[in-house]
Amino acid sequence: MLAVSVDPPDVSARLRARLESRITFLSDPRSELLDQLGIRHRDPPGRETDIAFPTAILVDAQGKIRWIYQSDTYRQRARPDEIFTAIEAMTARERS
């Protein structure tokens, strides 16, 4: 599991420590990966830099995208059960 934002590494490191998280936080300050995916939010209200649209992407062992979650509003995030369902579907597919 990886968390990606436009924050520089030191900001990500502080958030990671505060959350007591053990996952990898990636920093995409120039929105390079965001642009490849098409999830750069340009000129978001109340922010000075472009940021990511809240998105979750599940990638299988071969590097192929298996599931994409996008928020309609910036309030919304994928529910844990939606994520688990997607992971189970991917695992079942790999087994068969």
């Binding site: 990898t24 649209f53 992407i57 599940l58 990638v59 071969q62 995208i65 994520i83």
Partner: protein
């Protein structure tokens, strides 16, 4: 009576949402926060706020003027939340450059430890899969 009920509905809902932030059970967000972060429209919360504000307005009939600023505050709180949910929090249209079945794009980015991490779907077939969570940042 209507006035007391309106106070409970509006400020009770507001306090519930705020006090639920950060609270979780088994990793799931507490109910009121769950409504805010998982429902496209948190109908029950909105109905409670708007219903409470309307009750407050109704209770103004033959009431003393001192009640007015309280009901005005209720209407303000309800209006702010409705505006936030129905308008302000919506994201602009976007078009994804990838679809299910595509290779995840290759990248090389710095991680939280300031060391680079890279990925290339053509070369990296070494783990069980990855879940990328893209977040707005600056938290």
């Amino acid at each position: 009576m209507a006035f007391v009920l309106s106070l409970l509905l509006v400020f009770g809902t507001a306090v519930l949402v705020v006090s639920n932030f950060g609270a979780s059970e088994d990793g799931r967000a507490a109910w009121a926060t769950g409504q805010m972060i998982h429902a496209q429209y948190p109908w029950l919360l909105l109905a409670s706020l708007v219903g409470g504000a309307v009750l407050g307005l109704v209770s103004l009939r033959n009431a003393r003027w001192r009640r007015w600023p309280v009901v005005a505050t209720e209407c303000f709180v309800a209006a702010i939340v409705v505006w936030y949910v129905a308008s302000y929090s919506w994201l602009p249209e976007r078009s994804l450059n990838v679809a299910v079945g595509d290779d995840f794009p290759a990248y090389s980015l710095l991680a939280h430890d300031a060391k680079p991490r890279s990925f290339d779907a053509g070369a990296d077939i070494d783990d069980t899969g990855r879940l990328y969570i893209f977040y707005r940042g600056d938290w």
